[in-house]
Subunit: 304 residues, 2 copies
């Protein structure tokens, strides 16, 4: 028994490549020259006993991810029956499409716990399409912030607010991009002996968050963009990272600098946008690695 985390999808919304993107990273795939591995959208799986797993976020690519990862596939029918999954819980860290759309794949009368903050539960409830998750099978658990709870057998979790924003599809005319509340959370996962922090979306690192992470053994953190204006510079979008609710990796107010003195043993970037230069071997990836960061990839597994 040890805490295992499995990166089912290392990419941010859209994945790598993104369906309609000709930016240099995505275009490499469309042109048939693939200098690096493709990546599906943001999902982390966690287990303590290796048999029961929780998904942290349900990406639109979840069916493809399950097909790629034996850990998440139906087990021996002679023991587990004709309908089976090792996925016992799905926890959402925000209401973004890349984190919730996969719920629509996890239908077909399968029992699991759907775990969210009250605010995200409301977002789902406002969309009747999520009634595809039959309440006779799927238990919706709403969890308050800063309260440890049993997530699956052998794994406790605690949700804490991090700066973020409402999902894009709920944005009004003005958007506060650094709300701290139930819209965007980080998760601390523990098996009693070790703990892991998972924070795939985070707009800034205030002192309270820095203190919480200090001395952690493993943090998987928002690696959406390298520079705040990366999408604008590459001509594929008009928004900065700050506008999207994501801190950048580089620069004086970036995550690499913010983590420099936190004494975190192992730091892994996840939720990496297809525009991010760290996908490639190059100076940015070298800089991140020199600062002690790892770049996640689909199928990356870490045991604590």
């Amino acid at each position: 028994m040890s805490l295992r985390v499995l990166v089912a999808g290392a990419a941010a919304g859209g994945g790598l490549p993104q369906w309609n993107c000709n930016g240099s990273n995505s275009a490499a795939f469309w042109r048939g020259s693939q200098p690096f591995q493709a990546a599906t959208q943001s999902c982390l799986a966690v287990s303590s006993n290796g048999s029961d797993w929780a998904l942290l976020n349900a990406s639109p690519d979840i069916r493809q991810q399950i097909m790629a990862l034996p850990q998440l596939q139906p087990r021996d029918p002679s023991r587990y029956g004709l309908r089976d999954t090792p996925i016992r819980a799905v926890l959402l860290t925000n209401g973004d499409i890349d984190h919730v759309a996969g719920l629509l794949t996890l239908r077909e009368k399968q029992a699991f716990d759907l775990v969210t903050t009250p605010v995200i539960a409301d977002v789902l409830a406002q969309n009747p399409i999520f009634d595809a998750l039959d309440p006779q099978f799927v238990t919706r658990r709403t969890i308050a912030l800063d309260q440890p709870f049993a997530l699956i057998d052998g794994v406790t979790a605690e949700l804490f607010a991090v700066p973020g924003k409402v999902p894009l599809y709920l944005e009004g005319d003005t958007v506060d991009t650094e709300v701290v509340g139930e819209q965007t959370v980080g998760v601390e996962l523990s098996d009693g002996a070790s703990s892991v922090f998972y924070i795939p979306g985070c707009a800034a690192i205030p002192d309270t968050l820095a203190q919480r992470l200090t001395g952690a053994k493993l943090v998987l953190f928002d690696g959406t963009l390298w520079t705040d204006d990366e999408m604008i510079q590459q001509g594929v979008g008009q928004k900065t990272g700050k506008r999207m609710g994501h801190i950048s990796m580089s620069g004086a107010d970036g995550s690499i600098a913010a983590f420099e003195n936190l004494s975190v043993t192992r730091k892994v970037f996840v939720h990496i946008n297809n525009t991010n230069p760290v996908w490639r071997n190059g100076p940015e990836r070298a800089e991140a690695e020199a600062a002690g960061w790892e770049i996640a990839y689909d199928g990356m597994e870490i045991r604590l």
Copy 2:
């Protein structure tokens, strides 16, 4: 210029294999013995000029389908720019998850027409999550039944009602499984010279439908189940095909019998459930083929 149809996904809801299914077809994939090709969920692409494509239904697997099919990928950036897709329209034949969930992938400020009946437009409008399709880019067109309209450059379409039911997530306590109206439609596609019928969901074949299809060059038709009680017999579900709004292939009141005297030149089963024995080489597939049917597969392309 000729009408081209491309089966992006040949399977019904859940795909083959289905994420939580240990039925014999799905289990073959989980156990590593794959006697046949996997299949993604229901989507047909159509084009006349080979450059502009319409998708008929947007399956949860659409990102994977685009990655597999060069026809649907972004084109040369020097000519088409940094954001591009040959997908100019998406037409929905009903509101089922396997036909609409992929809309959530087709976001990222990309222009296309979203074409539905008024009833299905209402289903989408009741779910704010579909606002991810920015109305500044995505034009929602509601189309009346039995009226030809321009779908994309070189392709006209006409929607017609076929027997069906409301999507599962909108079912009440009682369900009429053979409603004829805007909930479930078939599509006739034409380039002026040739026409194709696409009917991925259909609960029965009344005389009016039989007459419409008589003498057609190509019909792609609902191949969900081989026998009506197939899911019950295999122990993976409690519903008959009739209860799910799908006519079966075999038997006196099945689709093979109903098509027998319709003089359709080419008949192709699509939207095939993972429980259907026709995926395998065996007596059922042989019987369908002997009756002049083809079994669709992902990537199957037909030119008229």
